[in-house]
């Protein structure tokens, strides 16, 4: 092989090398552009998800505003009675302040509810009192004011030992709320009732 042929071979090798290098660089750039396009697509998807999450959150916030406002309004009351002793003290204080002297029977029972995490415990109180008409009904109103979350289950008023006396048997359940233990749910809010 003469020098001219060697020079041609050498040039051909350089041409091959340059073409190969250009191709490799081009492939690398193509893969980078593909990655960029994929990332752009992922960013658009993430933006759509963010937008969807924002709309869902805003709608849920608006839909549940009433019921959440209701809860915020009641939180101080719910925190007021957190133990059995507090409920019993409130009842005794109410009897004392309202001047109900004749308490025929008092029975308290702590009721546990494993299924209800928001109200895991409640105090069921059954009482029989006897006094004047006004004092008895005023006491009933007072206990409902002091324990607004208490649910009156049974209330029976009959005549007392004398003509002016009334005998009232009442059974009510005072819930002991544990809002911290409540789990998140998916339920939609309903109308909020108001305590009369």
């Amino acid at each position: 092989m003469n020098p001219k042929q060697l020079a041609c071979v050498f040039l051909l090798m350089i041409i091959g090398g340059m073409t190969y290098a250009a191709q490799m660089v081009h492939n690398k750039v193509s893969s980078t552009r593909t990655e960029a396009e994929n990332m752009e697509s992922a960013a658009v998807t993430a933006e759509n998800e963010r937008s969807t999450a924002e709309i869902a959150t805003t709608m849920f916030k608006a839909d549940t505003e009433d019921v959440r406002r209701f809860l915020r309004g009641w939180l101080p009351v719910l925190d007021r009675v957190q133990t059995q002793q507090e409920a019993e003290q409130t009842i005794q204080l109410s009897l004392r302040e309202r001047g109900i002297n004749l308490v025929l029977a008092v029975k308290t029972e702590l009721k546990n509810s494993a299924s209800n995490k928001i109200i895991p415990k409640s105090l069921v109180t059954t009482m029989t009192i006897e006094d004047e008409y006004a004092k008895v009904l005023n006491w009933l109103g007072d206990i409902e004011r002091r324990l607004p979350t208490a649910r009156m289950k049974v209330m029976q008023i009959t005549g007392g030992s004398s003509g002016r006396q009334l005998k009232m048997e009442v059974s009510f359940e005072t819930p002991i709320f544990n809002l911290a233990a409540a789990e998140a749910g998916k339920g939609k809010a309903k109308d909020t009732p108001k305590k009369p």
């Binding site: 924002e54 049974v154 998140a184 339920g187």
Partner: protein, 184 residues
């Protein structure tokens, strides 16, 4: 320099090596074309690479920011759901914990002095705590009118009597009904 030498230089000389085929003359041209072409392609690729990298970085930042905001919204929604669930439970309980003292007072005030109420019982339904079973034992001559007055008075408290029944037992009329609270 003499003429002989000059003549000798102009004498055709044989090549030291054989000439390349004419097609091989294109190789240098191809070399320059490949050099220019490769330089152009690689230069353009360099700019494209830089642009793609910038686009990728910006997209990554946008994606990360969007994901953070999405997670924040999802967390806020989860928190709202938790609060709403609690609120619903509390509201459900409170729906069945409305005061009954006003009912007792309304009943007592509704009857005339000549009519005697011997017993009033309000019992909350286990299934629907908002509903109350009302039982009244009355004694008097104007009992039907008094019962209508009582129902009217309870209507002022937004309670309506359902399934009302009256049973006469001697002089005593036993009245039973279910009080259902009407929506405001």
């Amino acid at each position: 320099m003499n003429e002989y030498l000059c003549h000798d230089f102009k004498t055709p000389r044989t090549d030291t090596s054989r000439r390349l085929p004419s097609s091989f003359r294109a190789i240098p041209v191809i070399f320059y074309v490949a050099l220019v072409g490769s330089s152009y392609v690689m230069t353009m690729d360099y700019f494209n690479y830089k642009r793609a990298l910038k686009q990728k970085t910006e997209a990554q930042e946008r994606k990360k920011l969007s994901e953070e905001q999405r997670d924040a919204f999802n967390n806020e929604k989860a928190s709202l759901e938790s609060e709403a669930t609690k609120a619903e439970s509390v509201a459900q309980w409170m729906e069945g914990a409305r005061n009954i003292q006003p009912i007792a007072v309304k009943i007592a005030r509704a009857v005339q002095p000549e009519t005697r109420i011997t017993q009033v019982t309000l019992e909350r339904s286990e299934q629907v705590p908002a509903n109350l079973a009302l039982t009244i034992h009355l004694n008097g001559s104007q009992v039907p009118n008094e019962l209508a007055t009582i129902e009217s008075a309870l209507g002022q408290l937004l309670y309506r009597s359902y399934s009302a029944q009256q049973t006469k037992n001697g002089d005593v009329v036993e009245y039973h009904s279910t009080l259902v609270r009407q929506s405001e």
